[in-house]
Symmetry: C3
């Protein structure tokens, strides 16, 4: 039995096969509408995340399956002091697969050890959020037609954003990647990303403070939110924040076939006039997320693709 | 694509057709059990309202459809500062139709502008609650056999009760209506209802402080709750509150074929001994609400009535 | 129409027939997957209890049915002052059967009086939790092959634990039972259990402070949690608590075919090294709970067993 706790739990080959399946689902969702008939997903959200929870639930319902669970810790047995180990053993009696969101790093991993059903990490603290990484990669590949030899800009809070770290790690397994890391000094990527991920893989990268100068060379621009509370003083925040807001005007500096991604929710880091630009791919990401999660659920349940008769990859591999 | 944000979004003719469909569903619910098979309703409740949410969910399940969503803002992305515009664009990836409850006036309207799926206003602040109005009208018509030439009493808090304002507006589109507005001085209907709704439509109405004197002439009595916090001082509240409580004794003054409606939840404004009186129609309203919402969902999704082969009205009209 | 508010609502014969049905479901769950097709369960949880709520929901989904409801009072109309009597009359318009959890004793009983659909008490305050009792009895019978002539130890908090009181009452209807009541002085079973349940039924029992000495003679050990707040002073708690924790070491004193039950959630009263012992039956209990609730829902809805063509017992009896 396989779980998905960290993006690296899947080999590059497995990841690509999963994306192939997600692409086939994207192109013909109706063909998958009964694939998981009578299978059941438990959504165990120890902290609320509407978008992620509903995306998993929509994915399971799209496959003909069922859903149960809880949307936040307040309505779970956690308040009575139960461990995730005990909870997942009980949930194993109620469902066939589980998606767990937890404020504490490592909780989904611990759950997986005791579980009789596959566990998907739907985000654990600042640690990992592997389905976000997978849907980001799927969106990049669909937009650019490939997952190699791309120049990808990451803009905003590169220090605390787990989606950025996760995506950088995963993309570093692919050939010919170049990263442009655009952030204020205070929010640079952590040193370990450079010393343990970029350097050992021989990845070409550049750090910069300037979004506008970087735009012309990007294939992908991955935006993130710059939160005021990350700054030492308000003055710095006010001085810097506009530099990391993408506007229609700045976007005019970017190539016509660049794609703008954002993990959402957005607050104000992309202005509304960008939404109608064909380069805006962030709502597309949300749609791709449903297809990717359908592919993942199918794969972890060992269900065959009705179009090819094959499973994405051997879960006992 | 049509939405339902305000009762006036539907013409009188459209409203009547919707009620006709709800009546047909009422008479043979089983005929509609697969009409929305695999269609999905999102219930987006930014403030809790069990009755309304479960009524929508029951309606969708009765049609063979599916449901997902959130029951209050605490478990939604709103807490992360996301706009309803962004939320509905994401929800459009997960569902085929949405019902939104929001404490802020105009939020469902704003959502509708950005949505790729039909949006139903399930109550926005003190503003509008159109499905309540529709189920009230349906209940009146079923009880009296017509929606014209009726004397309708509204009793209690006529100042703040949005359901009353909404229903007065909608009924004012019909011929021969007469309204008896029964309330304490402090809770009279707002002036704009008289100057902008009743007067221009030439509606016959009377304002009174006295429920008992009004009862003998009523076809319908629409009760509402009188909340203590609406009064300037406790003395006035205590002096007045009993005047606006419907008891079995007072009900003896009313015609035998009068019907008592109430939007619920009731606290104490109708005593329990009234519940078994055949004139009590307030639990019937709740049942009618499910059928009306089934009719509405069918209509906004453009689904045909399996019994007539027709859609209630052209959503592209 | 029958409800289940207290375990004694069912005769001993009815209880045994219900357990027979639950056993048949246990042995071939797939045979029951469409039994309640299009029937709907409402889960009305005025206080959160994930385990119990999800167990009911899993049971209904396993039968091919549907589910709606609310997971805590904060998202229900109770906050607007609605009575359970009014709520259940509305819910009767939305669902075919209801499971209600309520912090106030007697709330499910009151709901049942006004309901048009069967009501199951899913726990009301410290009062009753009949489905827990049923699944405990089912687990005992499955483990020991009989429900008579057994020596059953209850260990821990025997004063406040409603599951213990309920189970003692139900088992006292069976012949040849012997109870070993193991608790600190402060947490002895209430006097009424002895004077009104054990004595009148001529039940053989012994009260003791010592778990280790009792273990060798037990067929069943029913563990419960000892909460610090139950003690007058911390000193007593610290001195005593370890005596009522079951460890692998203590378990070595017990017969090889003894079974350890626990209503869960567990905090630390059974150490983790006991989990893998074949005598540990507490996760099995959770699984049995789903089958027992399937049997109960079928019975209260009057649905026939597809394998025998019979209903468990006549609900109009």
């Amino acid at each position: 039995m396989r779980h998905l706790i960290d993006p690296a739990d899947f080999t590059l080959d497995e990841t690509l096969r999963l994306m192939d399946l997600a692409d086939r689902i994207h192109d013909d969702p109706a063909a998958y509408k009964d694939v998981a008939y009578r299978k059941r997903l438990a959504t165990l959200f120890y902290e609320p995340s509407t978008r992620t929870r509903l995306s998993f639930e929509a994915a399971m319902l799209n496959l003909g399956g069922q859903v149960l669970g809880f949307p936040d810790a307040g309505v779970s047995s956690a308040s009575k002091g139960e461990t995730v180990a005990d909870t997942i053993r009980i949930i194993s009696c109620y469902a066939d697969i589980a998606a767990m969101r937890h404020p504490k790093e490592g909780a989904p991993l611990r759950a997986a050890r005791y579980s009789r059903i596959p566990v998907i990490n739907a985000g654990d603290g600042g640690h990992s959020h592997p389905t976000q990484t997978l849907l980001d990669m799927m969106t990049i590949r669909r937009r650019k037609g490939r997952l190699d030899n791309l120049t990808i800009g990451f803009c905003g809070d590169l220090k605390f954003g787990r989606t950025v770290h996760s995506l950088i790690k995963s993309l570093s397994r692919l050939p010919g990647m170049r990263f442009v890391l655009i952030s204020p000094e205070e929010l640079r990527v952590p040193d370990y990303i450079i010393s343990e991920v970029l350097a050992p893989n021989g990845i070409d990268y550049v750090e910069t403070r300037n979004l506008e100068e970087s735009l012309p060379e990007l294939d992908i621009l991955y935006m993130t939110r710059v939160q005021q509370e990350r700054f030492f003083n308000e003055e710095d925040y006010i001085r810097l924040k506009n530099s990391y807001i993408l506007t229609k005007e700045k976007l005019s500096l970017a190539p016509a076939d660049m794609a703008v991604l954002h993990p959402l929710p957005r607050v104000n880091e992309i202005t509304l006039d960008v939404d109608d630009d064909p380069r805006a791919a962030y709502f597309e990401q949300a749609q791709n997320g449903v297809y990717m999660r359908m592919a993942l659920i199918m794969t972890l349940l060992g269900l065959a693709d009705p179009k090819t008769g094959e499973v994405a990859f051997d879960v006992n591999g």
